[in-house]
């Protein structure tokens, strides 16, 4: 099959490149339409922005096109493509799309509702499938085709890095979450205490996304809602509390002895790579912290119950396997399932 992927933004680009990489070994011929070239130079790439790609007659040469965008362009692409098809007297190609992050609850509803104009929805696991059925029951969209293809949007393949020699706790810092600088300040203070209480451990504050559009930007311009900003402001941080680089995220997680976060997507690769993982439960289940996704994970703990690290981290409970299966880990043949479904969708 010849498949195109229209994407933009860091999340869309990463997800599309992962999907292309997963589909290629199964015989799909992949082309990315994006403003930024893919990391894998062997991947077909056309430097077209999303709306220009949607109107481009090149699209009629594909069997199907995946669209992984955020914002208004997501709704505009199907409209533009169908209009272009009318003008060119062509059949529109099958357009597919789906959540580019592991979402659940209100965030998943909002994400899915914005994609109802697409011909096929790519979901991750049974939790999302059931949510979609619940959300659309009795509506005009009840029969919307969908397919669960696993945790396709995150790196889950084994990685080659060895864990750090010194015990390393990677704290996944979401630059905009929690949304209050003061909350981040208190959490930072607690992590400093944790570092002092466990001098044999290294604690790395690892941003799970860019802290600034320009990677060389002065750290004082980083968001005050990031732990990294607070570390930068601290004149005497503990010696065993250090900063990770945004572009070393995957490497950092792979190197970790354990991972901690509030609701970062990167907690899932950590779980899958077998890292003891801790979802900070001090704030309870809160929608804005991705709490609904981790509610049944079995990984939530209060920070105070995990200290000192050398005693408590080895005793952390493993992830609830039913939850892990339901969020998509049980789907082992996602790329094949998508290709088969797209073949079924062909006019």
């Amino acid at each position: 099959m010849r498949l195109g992927l229209i994407c933009d933004g860091q999340t869309g680009q990463r997800a599309s490149e992962l999907l292309a990489g997963a589909l290629q070994p199964h015989g799909a011929e992949m082309t990315l339409f994006s403003g930024t070239p893919p990391q894998d130079s062997a991947l077909g790439w056309l430097p077209l922005e999303p709306l220009a790609a949607a109107a481009n007659p090149l699209l009629f040469g594909f069997d199907a096109v995946g669209v992984f965008l955020e914002g208004e362009a997501l709704a505009q692409v199907p409209r533009i493509h169908r209009q272009a098809a009318t003008l060119h007297q062509q059949q529109p190609v099958t357009l597919f799309s789906g959540p580019m992050r592991p979402l659940y609850g209100d965030a998943l509803s909002a994400d899915l509702l914005a994609r109802l104009d697409y011909d096929l929805l790519c979901l991750q696991g049974d939790m999302q499938v059931q949510h979609l059925q619940w959300l659309l029951r009795g509506t005009d969209y009840e029969q919307k085709p969908s397919i669960a293809i696993g945790l396709w949007c995150l790196p889950t393949h084994p990685v080659g890095h060895r864990p750090s020699q010194q015990p390393l706790l990677v704290v996944l810092d979401q630059p905009q979450i929690p949304a209050s600088p003061l909350t981040n300040a208190v959490l930072y203070e607690r992590l400093c205490n944790a570092a002092r209480e466990s001098p044999s451990w290294l604690i790395r504050l690892q941003p799970d996304g860019p802290l600034a559009a320009d990677p060389t930007a002065d750290p004082s311009t980083w968001p005050e809602t990031s732990l990294c900003w607070h570390h930068h402001q601290d004149r005497k941080p503990p010696a065993n509390l250090q900063l990770g680089q945004a572009d070393e995220l995957a490497w950092s997680v792979a190197q970790a002895s354990a991972c901690l976060g509030l609701g970062s997507d990167w907690l899932l690769p950590a779980v899958i790579w077998g890292k003891p993982t801790l979802v900070l439960g001090d704030y309870g289940i809160r929608t804005e912290l991705n709490g609904p996704l981790f509610f049944s994970s079995g990984l939530m703990q209060r920070l105070v119950d995990c200290l000192p690290l050398h005693e408590k981290i080895p005793a952390l409970p493993a992830a609830n396997p039913d939850w892990l299966d339901a969020i998509g880990w049980a789907v082992a043949d996602g790329p094949q399932r998508l290709l088969l479904k797209l073949q079924d969708q062909q006019p």
Partner: protein
């Protein structure tokens, strides 16, 4: 059959209104019901007056209630408060029963109207209640999905329906007789749906243009609250100000009305709303509801809940209100799914309470390792209460643990910080002085 003697506890206006309807329905089923309206600034007097007219009304604070010996006379207590207060009440009530060696009554809680967002959070605050009242199969399906893989999957629930005016929803969709009513559309405004000022202006413009295209109709906007009143959500710009900003002068047949909603619904042919629970009040009172679909299906507007109703219309595209009124047929399967059906009524609650009276199952523990629920003494007030208890028992390590969590939640609270600093002193004299100098927390 048991004689049910129930206490319903609520504070905000919307919860009091929900309790009023619940009490009315319970009384029709033969239960004896008392409502306790926890005193709260901004509660409309009209709501309090209506509660007084309906039956016995108390107005005690939570602390006064917990001390009240008459609590033992009830057979169950229904609690209709915001999430954190729900959990606090359950926890304080159980502690109070322990201290006073009183029998623990079954506790139930529910939702005041349709649940449009943050369902998981809402359930995480309600876990541990003997019964959670849900509106209908839609909510039950959601709850089962949320709890399926957790240790809380056995949480008991009961479907009590969405009938709002104290009666039972009819088996067939209600028939509206338009000829008996005025050519009037009442619009039930919501303070945060939509929330963006630009969209709120567009919303009133849609209504104004529809009014202009329908000169033989009256269009009445019913604000959710009067300018001086309070509700759960804070309001930056009252709808009266939005109307002035967006329209300048109003069409002659468009007006704001602060008359009680049931009164407006009894006289109007149509109710329009984005996603208000008033939709079900309209059904109860024989007014034809229609949903404003001009903003699309959006989670932040609550519109997906109503998408299957068959009543979503684009007001901007309607020729006039006569045309809009035609062909509005509600889907009975959807009504059943969301809970507006005689299968789902307070009779289910009474039957469930009766069954539980016969056999009290053990409560599911709320703090299994690896799971955190909001109801597990995780509200800031609960944490602070727990810390004060620990301080009184000289368990300073536990007090420190609880205050650290409380400070994470409320980093701007200086009293928590001062109390935390005090318990951290290892020197007994310094700790004692610091504790004396920092205010202790009391609910």
């Amino acid at each position: 059959m048991t004689n049910h003697h129930l206490l319903l506890i609520a504070d905000s206006d919307s919860q009091l209104l929900a309790c009023q309807a619940l009490a009315q329905a319970l009384r029709q089923c033969g239960a004896c019901v008392t409502i306790n309206a926890i005193p709260r600034e901004g509660t409309p007097q009209a709501v309090i007056d209506a509660l007084k007219r309906g039956g016995e009304l108390w107005s005690q604070t939570k602390a006064q209630l917990l001390r009240d010996r008459r609590l033992a006379d009830f057979s169950a207590i229904g609690v209709y408060l915001a999430g954190s207060k729900l959990a606090e009440f359950r926890s304080s009530y159980h502690r109070s029963c322990d201290q006073r060696q009183r029998e623990v009554l079954p506790l139930f809680c529910g939702f005041n109207g349709v649940v449009l967002e943050r369902f998981e959070e809402a359930i995480a605050w309600r876990l541990g209640y003997d019964l959670i009242c849900l509106n209908g199969p839609r909510d039950q399906a959601r709850l089962e999905q949320v709890l399926r893989h957790t240790p809380f999957a056995a949480q008991h629930t009961v479907l009590t329906g969405l009938s709002r005016q104290g009666g039972q929803a009819p088996a067939a969709p209600p028939q509206v007789q338009p000829q008996m009513r005025e050519r009037q559309l009442v619009f039930a405004e919501q303070v945060v749906m939509p929330s963006k000022p630009g969209e709120r202006r567009r919303m009133v413009q849609l209504l104004a243009r529809l009014a202009q295209r329908s000169p033989h109709w009256q269009v009445v906007i019913k604000p959710r609250v009067a300018p001086h009143e309070a509700t759960f959500h804070s309001v930056d710009t009252h709808i009266a100000d939005t109307l002035r900003e967006a329209l300048g002068s109003l069409p002659a047949n468009l007006q704001l009305s602060y008359a009680p909603l049931p009164e407006l619904l009894r006289q109007s042919r149509l109710l329009a709303t984005v996603s208000s629970t008033a939709f079900f009040d309209a059904l109860d009172l024989g007014c034809q509801p229609v949903l404003l679909g001009d903003f699309g299906l959006r989670q932040d507007l609550g519109t997906p809940f109503f998408a299957g109703s068959g009543l979503v219309r684009q007001l901007g595209e309607a020729e006039d209100l006569d045309a809009l009124e035609q062909g509005l047929t509600i889907d009975p399967a959807w009504l059943h799914w969301v809970g507006y059906h005689p299968d789902h009524s307070v009779a289910n609650l009474l039957a469930a309470l009766e069954r539980r009276g016969e056999q009290r199952p053990d409560a599911t523990p709320l703090k299994p390792s690896g799971y955190v629920v909001n109801a597990g003494d995780l509200s800031t007030n609960q944490l602070r209460c727990g810390a004060e208890n620990a301080i009184s028992c000289r368990d300073y390590a536990e007090a420190e643990r609880l205050l650290e969590v409380a400070l994470l939640q409320r980093p701007d609270n200086r009293n928590i910080r001062r109390r935390l600093q005090a318990v951290r002193y290892s020197n007994r004299l310094l700790r004692r002085l610091a504790l004396l100098a920092s205010p202790a927390f009391r609910l």
